[in-house]
Symmetry: C2
Subunit: 251 residues, 2 copies
């Protein structure tokens, strides 16, 4: 009869509904458990409609990854409000990213898969652009923080490096530690003895010391800073993690 025309708001709400459902499936059955068939079965729409919103399964994954990054951006902004010296604020960014990964481990796994496998190439142009745009948005305040610390003489920009490269060093080390220590530890006897929080602090301390970021590791109680960051800024995330662990233990 009357062919229905959907407003952009309705389309957006439905897209959100689909993504939320996909996330639930991933949370329950893992990333490999996400299937278009399963997704459609739990949704009041058909396959065709899902493909009307997303060009492929990878497109859905990239969309979830982008949402996750938006959340990370909010975490980073919060981290930089920490009441402490500039190096503590930089540390807070990593503590926040780690807590977020622990509170939402599936989102973190999706991020790794999207970055490592060539998922982006199979996603739609629109989704790729949005992803890139958000990545830049959340990096900007980080760069600004590194720059102001260097300009204040609290850290030294190494010869031949620029601010962006300094931030990238921290980011890639953070990514490396989390990726290597979040997976199945049982595959490697060395890694199974390591703790994410400890090694992240160790790695970031080494890099910050390499930048001569004051105060140096040996002159400050950084473990205490981590605790303060957790309680003063990320108590909500810590709460989610502890709930997640107790529910895992009773299982």
């Amino acid at each position: 009869m009357s062919p229905k025309i959907f407003s952009p708001e309705e389309k957006d709400a439905r897209e959100q509904e689909m993504l939320g459902c996909a996330k639930l499936i991933i949370r329950d059955e893992g990333l490999a458990g996400l299937t278009i068939d399963k997704l459609v079965k739990q949704l009041p729409y058909s396959k065709g409609t899902v493909y009307n919103h997303f060009s492929s399964k990878e497109d859905i994954m990239l969309a979830i990854c982008t949402e996750h990054m938006q959340q990370i951006g909010e975490i980073m902004a919060r981290a930089l409000t920490f009441n402490g010296n500039s190096r503590e604020k930089a540390l807070a960014v990593h503590v926040g990213s780690m807590l977020n990964s622990q509170a939402y481990p599936d989102d973190f796994m999706i991020g790794v898969s999207v970055k490592s496998a060539g998922c982006t190439s199979k996603a739609s142009e629109f989704r790729r652009l949005k992803h890139q745009q958000i990545e830049m948005a959340f990096l900007a305040p980080i760069f600004a923080h590194f720059r102001s610390a260097a300009e204040a003489g609290e850290s030294i920009v190494p010869a031949g490096m620029c601010i962006e490269q300094m931030a990238f060093s921290c980011w890639s080390a953070d990514f490396g530690v989390q990726t290597l220590l979040m997976g199945d530890n049982d595959a490697c006897s060395i890694r199974s003895q390591l703790n994410v929080e400890t090694e992240l602090l160790n790695s970031i301390n080494l890099i910050h010391d390499g930048m001569c970021w004051q105060p140096l590791a040996k002159d400050f109680d950084w473990k205490a800073s981590v605790e303060r960051i957790k309680t003063e800024i990320f108590s909500a995330e810590v709460e989610i993690i502890s709930q997640l662990q107790t529910s895992l233990n009773t299982l």
Copy 2:
């Protein structure tokens, strides 16, 4: 008639044949292009026989990953023979791992996939054990190198850290830089401006400086060291990379 019985050598040779074929497919069509159907079609055996050797597709992937790690072990041993100071030798390990990843990018991608996705859990017990054993074998000389440098007073073991944690910091930073910069750069405008070799040297220099590993970055020409390492130790790998790039350009 006479039921054939295969010797362990024959079984091993066939396994190698299967793995070699799988690697070729991955080299030509990417990791996602690897399919049991395709593998069998290019092999003089049937599906059942392949499954007689490997418990699953993940088992094949882990086997390839383990072979690659064995190769990395050989690279690391070679790196440590570099004629230079102890920090240069430590740097050589990373240069070698990077060159190997560039010379055999598919092997590197498999490693990332195996580590990030829960591939190990789907692989067979036997394959998992072998993987773990080889990982430990190639880490041992690295640990020994870090320890002797610290004992010689060329580096300082930070308070609260042990030798293994220092080595892990370098390893995870290396892994982070390579993973983030080897994929599709186009997804991120910042990353696309960064060069793997430059950022790897920057990151490792920051961490080594953080360990006070002499001589410090500012007191030495580390770019020159990288060039020396490339020509004196890894000329074969450099040659493969340049061939790979010219064949990519003519394509």
